[in-house]
């Protein structure tokens, strides 16, 4: 016995939106997860004095990593600069948003699967999850936009890009739901 998967009656828009949501969801789960880790690692390993020690750059390590001495020293300055540029509460806010974002992005992968296999609830669930992800982007935008030029340069374009992507997914799901409602 073979169970049927080629359900051509299933909506075309849901098939496309579902797969795009899954691909972006997988990527975003990893991205938000990495962001959460970045803030945790930097906060945990910063010296209590807040002053970064000098870079340790042994020659064999430089060769192995393909770094010059200047680049090796810059790695320390880079982390110090990031911490220096971040206003108070920035790291905690970004970490919280990244954690919620990781969970929502993973849910969007599951919802994407539900869209591909189109079920009655999938369009509503997709609208809720895409709206949630867009809200995370808006909140990240509001945290980043007032955080000074270095942090803005670091984050703003990727936050805006994700906001546009999530807005497109959201309006796609809304349009799809309206299309199905009109058909019924």
């Amino acid at each position: 016995m073979v169970d049927g998967l080629n359900k051509s009656r299933l909506p075309h828009w849901a098939s496309i939106l579902g797969v795009v949501a899954i691909v972006l969801g997988v990527f975003l789960t990893a991205l938000h997860g990495a962001e959460w880790m970045k803030h945790s690692v930097i906060a945990t390993h910063m010296p209590e004095s807040g002053v970064m020690p000098a870079a340790d750059c042994p020659e064999e390590e430089l060769e192995e990593e393909g770094l010059t001495l200047g680049q090796c020293e810059f790695l320390v300055d880079y982390v110090a600069g990031f911490v220096e540029s971040a206003p108070e509460g920035f790291s905690d806010s970004m970490k919280t948003l990244a954690l919620i974002g990781t969970l929502l992005a993973f849910v969007s992968v599951i919802i994407g699967g539900a869209l591909v296999n189109y079920t009655a609830w999938s369009a509503n669930a997709a609208i809720a999850v895409f709206a949630g992800l867009a809200l995370i982007d808006v909140l990240q935008f509001s945290v980043v936009v007032g955080a000074g030029p270095l942090i803005r340069n670091f984050y703003l374009w990727s936050v805006l890009l994700w906001l546009i992507l999530h807005a497109m997914l959201l309006v796609g799901a809304i349009a799809g739901r309206q299309f199905e409602a009109a058909k019924a």
């Binding site: 051509s8 579902g18 880790m37 020690p53 982390v79 296999n117």
Partner: protein, 180 residues
């Protein structure tokens, strides 16, 4: 009874592997930009250990996926959904992806095994030291690790493109791996 799609365990493991691989790529680019380790600068310790933990776990997940795929083989797609040559090409790409995942994990472990850092899997299980620290060997395996990782990314790009192609066609192919 033979299913047209993959079984649920395969589906769950497939997506766990997907998220893990993307996380490893993204986090590795970031962690390589952290300061080199010293007594006072330990930024790299956690991300590198996590990278190794997930990499070793990936090998186990891959073994589970392969076992499930071979034990519960889905039927070949209908010719109207996927032509025979495209199916063969997709199978070859899958085999290449499996081999590359294994190659990336093994070379990564070998590179790490030649450093002075030990491996404690998920901070619980100590892996025995299989080699003495050796900069040249570390570099050799590390380079292989990088090349295999880029090749894997290229195959994943082709794999994802294939999935998107079939989603635009709205045939039954992508539903084979999306059965929650």
């Amino acid at each position: 009874m033979q299913r047209e799609g993959f079984n649920r365990t395969s589906v769950i493991v497939h997506w766990l592997i997907a998220v893990s691989i993307f996380f490893l790529f993204i986090s590795s680019w970031w962690m390589m930009g952290l300061p080199l380790p010293s007594k006072e600068l330990q930024f790299r310790a956690f991300p590198f250990q996590l990278h190794k933990n997930i990499g070793i776990t990936l090998v186990i997940l891959l073994a589970v996926l392969l076992y499930m795929r071979l034990k519960y083989r889905p039927v070949a797609p209908k010719a109207s959904d996927m032509s025979a040559w495209a199916y063969k090409l997709a199978l070859l790409a899958h085999v290449a992806i499996y081999l590359l995942i294994l190659a990336v994990c093994v070379t990564g472990y070998m590179s790490s095994a030649h450093t002075r850092w030990d491996t404690t899997w998920w901070w619980l299980i100590d892996f025995p030291r299989i080699a003495a620290p050796d900069e040249e060997m570390n570099e050799f395996w590390g380079e292989l690790h990088t090349y295999f990782a880029w090749a894997l990314l290229a195959f994943i790009a082709a794999h994802v493109s294939g999935a998107i192609y079939h989603s635009f066609r709205n045939d039954g192919i992508v539903r084979r791996m999306m059965r929650w």
